[in-house]
Symmetry: C2
Amino acid sequence: MEYMIGVDLGGTFIKAGPVSKSGNLLYEISIPSQAEISPESVVSQIGKAVATIREKYPHDRLIGVGIGSPGLVDLDGGTVKYPPNFKNWTVFRLGEETARVTGVGVEVENDANAAAVGEMKFGSARGMRDFIMVTLGTGVGGGVVIGGKVFRGQSGGAGEIGHMTVNFDGPQCKCGNRGCVEAYVGQRYLSQRVSDQLIFHHDSLINKLIDSGVEQLEPKIISQAADRGDAFALQVWKEAGMYVGVAIASTFNLFDISTAVIGGGVAKAGKPLFDSIEETVRSRVLSPLRPKTKIIPAALENSGILGAAALIAE
Amino acid sequence: MEYMIGVDLGGTFIKAGPVSKSGNLLYEISIPSQAEISPESVVSQIGKAVATIREKYPHDRLIGVGIGSPGLVDLDGGTVKYPPNFKNWTVFRLGEETARVTGVGVEVENDANAAAVGEMKFGSARGMRDFIMVTLGTGVGGGVVIGGKVFRGQSGGAGEIGHMTVNFDGPQCKCGNRGCVEAYVGQRYLSQRVSDQLIFHHDSLINKLIDSGVEQLEPKIISQAADRGDAFALQVWKEAGMYVGVAIASTFNLFDISTAVIGGGVAKAGKPLFDSIEETVRSRVLSPLRPKTKIIPAALENSGILGAAALIAE
């Protein structure tokens, strides 16, 4: 067997696993990323993860290691700049250093872009040449695929859909701007806003589901309430979908693209969220794009690892 | 001499003129576009304009005719779809028909994109490979240049910066969306908003400058007042610059571009507008782009004709 290793590099954990050429994740390991120490520690941890996986497959050929990383990834395919929440990390040749430690070829891509490549190779964007990918998680990630290639821009920073302004006078975002879509639907912002509003919704099921306090207020709680028909919870997803839809409509207008693939933990909200995104995009995008508009859920469960592995499959 | 003819096709008038290869507009004519009749009438009028110009230069070689057109222009370089305010015009092969009538090669491009090409060839974006062009007029036009080429998207409709949402709950735009940047700073929207607000600003100089009624309230009146230090007029340009800046910052984030060239009649407001655009973009764009941000006024006086002629120079 020939296989790739996909590495999903996060601020707390490295998730990694062997992936077959057809996109099957064979198993998954998770080890601390040691991002709080230094980039060298992170490389050493990635090296350990790769070695652990290779030991299990002594007779198979590892084609390469793909890494999905936070931060700006340079066009040279390996330099990662200023990943948020990584200590002592300014500009570091992550690809080169990982190749040295592991002895195999390494490809690095921004995690949101890697997720887009993963969906294109193995997921719900198979066969698509032009689409945007939006990842709804702690942050709101974005990737733009044009003609089957990630659109990276001059320095690899393109596709930042999460930091499009949907209201110039909106809430403060940690990027410095106001009213970014991330400042509305990034997981913590969303949970905070819902918890602030809960006092006006005494009868909402959400109150019962978080018996031990609002710090429990994760999107899945809101979804549990919405699944049972809770009006406030449904309204939360409707609004969230509107914010996301506004950003997608502007992105469609700019790129002349009409398909969006939506993934990430918050996207598990499912139908109430997706219906609202679709309705918003259709009513706001320029008329030539309206009939072509498609909003599709991401298909990959482990898009972080599979997207990273897909960088090698390219 | 070898020369091009640039044709600026508008809903009321066709402006056209001979342009030297170095970008000098030798003279300019203006004839009715007959857009209220049919696409065939428009072609016939373009033919007349071209013939009139050629008669003046019997010993010189016409290289080709460039047309900047409203509406969606197809990648085949000649089909114009649904130009707003043109009667009986759905999908029409403007390039092919004009070539037949004039007997020379014809290039057609969307007018906002043509303006971007004009600035790149002859104007303030000379030598630039990556920039966006924003045209502030009746509408807000947009063009994105990547690697020295207009980014057109799948069907030629890309770059619609004017219809980016800057406030999801903002004023109704004629495109069907709410809160587009055009719905704030498109000339008529802007004039209307200022005239609505004038009753709260009795002491504004604008009141004196429009002695015969608010229908006179063109952007140049606001500028005249601003030039004399009128606080309300200055505030109008500051706000307009904020709206434009918000859209530009989102566009920069998406394309990983850091230069914007701003043209069009409303851009004649000058410093108070440009200062506000620049301040807004710098405070809102993602931090890696902040130090590189450049907001530049367009240089071409007749960008409609020169941009169209530049399509031939390409």
